[in-house]
């Protein structure tokens, strides 16, 4: 039991800090920019990302385990993973529509954004390369979602300053945000001793 939990925790920490989808792989930058700009959607988008990465990771663990020996598995991986993410999306949407119709009305506008984005798909691919047990797959999925939330919060917290008049007009908004993410990414790389 202890081993399962330690594997889960190690994978989650890997996803949050060391292999952070946004800072270390530049995955889902568009979703981050969108979420930081539209503050009212911030929580909804990140809850969606965390939920989809965690559930989909558990399912991709099964396909990786049973089909990875197949010759054409690598080239079919995007199709298989998209199929899994789509199934999670549709089933969840149906459940929310049935039991929480008011929530669905609120998140309808951007729910597809938090499901079909580079961070979700990228996390599944990275975990597949790392391999590991069922617990580490779920841990990494959850960690990626939480790491994405951390990146989103750091952008959200700096959004006002990055758009303020103290930044030259041409660099205001997206350009300075990219440089800001770059500096955080540099700091994290140095902190973890990555080259």
């Amino acid at each position: 039991m202890e081993t399962i939990f330690s594997r889960f925790l190690a994978a989650a920490l890997l996803g949050i800090f060391i292999e952070n989808a946004a800072f270390e792989r530049a995955l889902g930058v568009n979703v981050l920019l969108y979420a930081a700009r539209k503050r009212e959607n911030l929580i909804g988008i990140f809850v969606g990302v965390i939920y989809v990465t965690t559930i989909s990771s558990a399912l991709t663990c099964l396909t990786d385990r049973y089909f990875s020996a197949w010759e054409y598995y690598n080239i079919l991986m995007p199709f298989i993973y998209i199929f899994i993410v789509s199934a999670v999306y549709i089933l969840t949407l149906m459940a929310v529509w049935r039991f929480f119709p008011n929530i669905l009305k609120r998140v309808k506008k951007y729910v597809h954004l938090s499901v079909f984005n580079c961070a979700v798909l990228g996390a599944l691919f990275i975990q597949s390369r790392i391999g590991g047990t069922f617990a580490s797959y779920i841990g990494y999925g959850l960690g990626t979602g939480l790491g994405f939330l951390l990146a989103g919060y750091l952008l959200y917290a700096a959004e006002d300053r990055l758009n303020s008049e103290s930044v030259p007009e041409s660099f205001r908004g997206m350009p300075i945000t990219m440089i800001y993410i770059g500096v955080i990414s540099l700091a994290l790389s140095a902190f973890w001793g990555k080259h």
């Binding site: 800072f23 199709f79 949407l93 984005n117 580079c118 997206m174 540099l186």
Partner: protein
């Protein structure tokens, strides 16, 4: 955006004014993460062009009576099916080493915002020829930015462009990293906007002078 839907489509719109990498940052991830040299950027540009154009062409044929949630799922599944021949073609052209080195970013091209968002909000509101023209603008804009970033990172990190030596008095190995990519794209985006705004102001100034 709506003002443009029924009117003329300008390639300029996607290439410059709404450039996906340097103006809106709508799809900068693969450029930052994978375009670390010219070859990688060419692989990404080729795959992006083919996956986006072919997928949008097929998705246009889907009946509109499907619910939005179902259409989005079908777009993603069609893109991931189109991905298969595109990767085989890229391997034929660039070799499997080049393709494998950016395989993670090639796979995520199937959920790119042109397919997942702009098809519904923009491209499918136009006639088919106009849709392809409009989309071509966005694709050319992305490809040009990707190749520019890849070439610059190649020169700055290795002092080489393909097999040609570019003699520079320094080497910036950080340009090969993701944080180097973020910072370079941020600086290029700022410069791009500066030049664009200057040109726009000059144009407006000339127009107002002519009127007077």
């Amino acid at each position: 955006m709506e003002h443009n839907m029924s009117g003329k489509v300008k390639l300029f719109d996607g290439i410059i004014r709404q450039n996906m990498v340097l103006m809106s940052g709508l799809f900068a991830g693969p450029v930052i993460g994978a375009a670390t040299n010219l070859i990688n950027s060419l692989v990404i540009a080729l795959a992006f062009t083919l996956i986006t154009m072919v997928t949008a062409g097929i998705c246009r044929l889907l009946p509109k009576k499907f619910a939005f949630a179902v259409r989005i799922v079908l777009y993603a599944l069609i893109a991931s099916a189109v991905y298969i021949p595109v990767i085989l073609l890229a391997e034929l052209i660039f070799g499997s080493d080049a393709v494998n080195s950016v395989s993670l970013y090639l796979a995520i091209l199937v959920t790119n915002p042109l397919i997942m968002a702009k098809t519904e909000s923009r491209f499918f509101l136009r006639s088919v020829p106009m849709m392809f023209k409009d989309m071509a603008g966005f694709v050319i804009g992305f490809d040009m930015s990707c190749i520019l970033v890849g070439a610059l990172r190649d020169i700055l990190s290795d002092n080489m462009l393909l097999n040609t030596i570019i003699p520079l008095p320094f080497q910036m190995s950080a340009m090969e990293s993701v944080y180097g990519g973020f910072i370079l794209v941020g600086i290029l985006a700022g410069l791009f906007r500066f030049v664009y705004r200057r040109a726009l102001r000059r144009k407006n100034h000339l127009i107002s002078e002519r009127k007077n």
